[in-house]
Symmetry: C2
Subunit: 151 residues, 2 copies
């Protein structure tokens, strides 16, 4: 397993190439760069050039977004990647593991919600005051004895 996947020309990418390969708009890449999610350097003619790593970064960004993670949080997470060198397999693994936790968390919350909803389908939500859909996070700010949040 000697030579890496250097089979083709492993050159730097222009913004248009990254756009084509990632499916993102050029404007989106500019935007991500302005937010520090990706980085580039410039040619003498002031055009952006990207390391091929950017494609993985962008893939990670898209995955994270699909799970509902806001860009600011993604940006935070991406900081585990080295700024000065190309990320290693280990670097990517760390990041992947982190997303997995996020995902697990999100999935378990939604599953809980679904199960609660199942209970409510049975009860027809007739008695929401004892319905599990009453999220404990959703404060009802009850004021008196006997005050009820729902119905």
């Amino acid at each position: 397993m000697p030579s890496k996947t250097n089979s083709g020309l492993a050159k730097d990418l222009s913004v248009g190439e990254v756009a084509d390969r990632s499916g993102l708009a050029v404007s989106t890449l500019h935007f991500y760069e302005s937010k520090g999610l990706i980085t580039s350097w410039r040619t003498t003619g002031n055009q952006r050039r990207y390391s091929r790593d950017v494609l993985r970064r962008v893939a990670i960004i898209k995955v994270a977004q699909r799970t509902g993670v806001p860009l600011a949080a993604i940006s935070e997470a991406l900081k585990v990647l080295p700024a000065d060198r190309s990320p290693t397999a280990q670097d990517w693994r760390k990041l992947s593991a982190r997303w997995k936790e996020e995902l697990d968390d999100r999935i378990s919350k939604l599953t809980q919600l679904r199960d609660d909803l199942n209970g409510c389908i049975g009860c027809g939500c007739l008695s929401l005051k004892q319905c599990p859909l009453r999220n404990p996070d959703d404060e009802a700010h009850l004021h008196g004895p006997g005050a009820r949040a729902f119905d």
Copy 2:
């Protein structure tokens, strides 16, 4: 002014009461009303009054939002509820069942994503071009033979 701690009577609710019991801000309720998510009528003094059903509606809205459904879609879904009368248990059940489908769908998508990610943790995302995280929805727009979306 209606008492906010009138816990025993099944009377109509002022916007403040709904806010307290639902945990939403008054401004949010105004906003929801402007979007047609909830309805009210007015007192002679032009103040809003809500049927107690609004609390269930709001609960449903919050649940849907937690699953990532946008307000416009929630609004659509709420149209299965009768405008002229209080929803019956059957009406609520129909709505609940619908949310359950949405949830199931969302959960399965996230689960798929997590499983894909598991594979990628193993491979360290070294070869994203064959990584399952390459979402089929994310067009790569390849242009030539041998063009590669990643790496």
